[in-house]
């Protein structure tokens, strides 16, 4: 990097800035926040929206500050009347082809376009022209697409191809008729979409949303004939506060348990309990594989988007995937068997609802192979965003509510279960337990720094019983593809790989609260704070290893036997198979070697 300092003039004042950056980046650092829309620091420069234009002395036209490099002595103006007027017109022209339905829109008061229009001072509309009219795609179980709300900033396209490297979304057609869509205008249900929901996170408007199940849930919560059982994932508590304007990083664990109970649930359990259960099964499976029963490296299977991605793009690795279900599905399986037995209730009368950070969990819940005794295990999946809305809509004062505990017997968790929500957490939790199972000794230094943090691919090692165990962690499907290529080339390099589909792990899931007005979607600092919140919860717990959780011990004693027992295999494990989205791969290739991930 060129560290040379140069002088640029912004609004007639000189500033020393580093060479080799864009005008926008330089201006950001010296306190000018130039308005922007299609720009995202993690994504490539698109320069599509032209909202970030500034005046450059000597240039014929306004320049897009997101793309223009700084040069010594350049004179920039950011707020002249001509510029303000041009910028305003640009935003108004975007608005012109946008449905004027803010008050009934899912993203009302949380929309970047709305904020931008307000800050541009658009109080009166000058233009009126043709508007696009397209069908909404509501075919998917997790993500819905509304092209009418799309302003073609392309953030979703770049997210999908650059960060997730799944390239499900692309621009189709041209000019006024341009639409962002999956290949062949395929409905989402049939497309290769992994349901990770990152398009929702980066979308400035409501062109992408999760499929909303809140109305259905409100209805069912009033049904006296069924028993309503909830579970709540670790990452939800680390982020839901943000939906109530609390700074990122404050956990709302007890408030959540209380609020969910007030919504009308009979039992509020903690997904962290079954995160502990997952660790028991996964650590056991790993040790079995280490002894030669199964393929190494073993790859984790908790992330639903990753599961779909694996089945579509990496089918050659299916034998490496842990057969363990995700914590959500394990929890639901226990709710409909163990818990139903305990309270002597017909599992058919139990409504099992999962509050998740994730859109792909909605897809996972609908996977037929996860059914338990012919019943759907997880009946409804509600995202953090939906839950926050439900709490507000039900008139629950979330910030004033008195905290409550989760219910027994599926509500007690160790610190290991808590850190599942962040990248590296599953690995760290698994090592804590596997180490002890393998060596009979307690791992004393249990905070494994090598697998923490937001680096795309992390590597670490532990010595277990004199043997070096090499582990790797990737978050985001793009990093995952990269890590798997390393593992393919060097099959003995790792013993254990953790993969999470979303940047930052579940804390950055596709169902987490939208970035607020002073933040950007998937801001690293925010992800770090959410992760730190979980690490703090872990640190403050006395029980920090899954196998020390007394309720887990009881569950094995009373019901499952031991990890890897036939009962465990029936209820807690699953299988994967190669999956072709309809029409994506030619018939003739289906029996052949699996298709490589179609990456750019």
């Amino acid at each position: 990097m060129d560290k040379k300092m140069i002088t640029i003039y912004i609004d007639d004042k000189p500033y020393q800035v580093a060479a080799g950056q864009t005008v926008m980046q330089a201006a950001d650092k010296v306190g000018f926040r130039i308005p922007r829309l299609c720009y995202h620091p993690k994504l490539s420069i698109e320069g599509a929206c032209r909202v970030c234009i500034v005046e450059l002395e000597g240039a014929r036209n306004f320049i897009a500050s997101c793309a223009y490099p700084v040069a010594d002595g350049m004179k920039i103006r950011t707020n002249t009347p001509e510029l303000r007027s041009a910028r305003r017109d640009i935003v108004e022209l975007i608005l012109d082809n946008h449905p004027m339905d803010c008050h009934t829109c899912e993203r009302d008061s949380n929309c970047e376009l709305q904020r931008l229009a307000y800050s541009m001072g658009i109080r009166k509309r000058h233009f009126e022209g043709e508007m696009k009219h397209y069908e909404k795609d509501v075919s998917g179980v997790a993500v819905i697409r509304d092209p009418n709300k799309c302003i073609l900033c392309g953030r979703c396209v770049r997210m999908c191809s650059e960060i997730q490297k799944t390239s499900v979304l692309g621009y189709a057609h041209r000019g006024f008729k341009t639409v962002v869509m999956p290949a062949y205008n395929m409905p989402f249900r049939d497309s290769s979409c992994t349901a990770c929901g990152q398009c929702i996170n980066v979308c400035p408007t409501a062109a992408f949303l999760e499929k909303d199940y809140t109305q259905e849930l409100f209805k069912k919560l009033n049904d006296k004939s069924i028993l309503k059982v909830a579970q709540c994932a670790p990452s939800v508590r680390a982020a839901i506060g943000e939906a109530f304007n609390i700074e990122p990083g404050r956990t709302m664990e007890k408030q959540l348990a209380a609020a969910i109970r007030r919504l009308g649930f009979d039992y509020v359990f903690d997904t962290q309990f079954s995160a502990d259960l997952t660790i028991m099964e996964e650590a056991n499976e790993f040790l079995e594989r280490l002894q030669g029963k199964g393929k190494l490296p073993m790859i984790t299977s908790c992330s639903s988007a990753w599961m779909k991605c694996l089945e579509q793009y990496h089918p050659d690795l299916i034998d490496h995937i842990s057969t363990c279900k995700s914590p959500m599905s394990m929890q639901s399986a226990m709710v409909k068997t163990y818990f139903a037995d305990k309270i002597k209730r017909d599992p058919k009368e139990i409504l099992s609802v999962a509050f998740m950070f994730c859109t792909a969990k909605k897809y996972e819940a609908a996977r037929p192979e996860l059914e338990v005794n012919g019943m759907r295990a997880t009946d409804l999946v509600i995202t953090t965003r939906e839950l926050a809305w439900m709490i507000k809509s039900a008139g629950i004062d979330f910030l004033a509510i008195k905290g409550e505990e989760f219910d027994h017997p599926l509500g007690l968790s160790s610190g290991a279960g808590t850190i599942f929500g962040t990248t590296g957490g599953v690995m760290e939790a698994a090592i804590r337990t596997a180490y002890e199972l393998a060596t009979g000794e307690t791992l004393l230094d249990i905070e494994i720094g090598a697998v923490r943090g937001l680096q795309g691919i992390k590597e670490g090692k532990v010595v277990m019983d004199g043997k070096e165990i090499r582990v790797a962690v990737a978050h985001g499907l793009g990093n995952a593809a990269e890590l798997l290529d390393i593992a393919r080339k060097d099959p003995n390099r790792y013993h254990f790989i953790e993969i999470m589909g979303c940047p930052g792990g579940c804390v950055g899931g596709g169902g987490q609260p939208y970035a607020n007005s002073n933040s950007i979607p998937l801001d690293e600092e925010c992800l770090m704070k959410r992760a730190e919140a979980l690490y703090t919860l872990d640190r403050n717990k006395t029980i920090r290893r899954s196998h020390e959780n007394p309720d887990i011990q009881r569950l094995y004693k009373e019901f499952l036997g031991r990890p890897g027992s036939p009962a465990s295999h029936k209820l807690l494990h699953t299988h994967y198979k190669q999956h072709f989205p309809v029409g994506i791969i030619p018939e003739s290739l289906k029996q052949q070697k699996p298709a490589e991930p179609a990456n750019k």
Partner: protein, 167 residues
């Protein structure tokens, strides 16, 4: 093996694969030859089928969404099978002055399709053209490679009927 039978059973696909293999050798990256490959596929099949685009995606390792983007961006690419006879009606200035719009609406009436569409019996596809370079005999239309000039609505009906008889 069953799949090899399927593969060789379609000589057009075999030719497309051969073309892609050549492109891979000559181009510095796979995406650089995408448009040339799609042209080839359209030459072979008359349009871009989902199967052909999938094949290109898998062989060239280009995301299907990206191929779909290119295929829908350029008007030259056709995404539905064309009819046996492709009618291009010239709407260039000279033809227009000589009544090309009447010719066009006559054809639309006769075939009951719009521009860009194909008749349900897959016999005719209707297109518009800008200039066919035959302004001296305007208004003109071209059916496959044959030019028909000094058209009148009556003449159009006769011509179409002839093609219908041929089937």
């Amino acid at each position: 093996m069953a799949d090899t039978v399927v593969k060789t059973a379609d000589p057009k696909m075999a030719e497309l694969r051969k073309f892609m293999a050549e492109q891979k050798k000559t181009q510095y990256n796979d995406e650089a030859s995408l448009i040339a490959i799609l042209h080839k596929a359209q030459d072979l099949y008359g349009y871009l089928s989902v199967e052909a685009m999938d094949e290109v995606a898998v062989t060239m390792k280009i995301p299907t969404a990206h191929i779909w983007g290119v295929a829908t961006f350029y008007h030259y690419f056709c995404l539905t099978p064309k009819g046996k006879y492709v009618i291009s009606v010239c709407l260039g200035t000279a033809c227009y002055v000589k009544g090309a719009d009447e010719i066009m609406s006559k054809i639309k009436d006769e075939l009951k399709i719009k521009v860009g569409e194909t008749t349900p019996d897959k016999l005719f596809t209707l297109q518009e053209a800008r200039c066919l370079g035959a302004c001296g005999i305007a208004p003109v239309m071209m059916i496959n490679d044959k030019i028909y000039g000094t058209l009148t609505p009556k003449k159009v009906t006769e011509i179409l009927n002839n093609y219908r008889k041929q089937g």
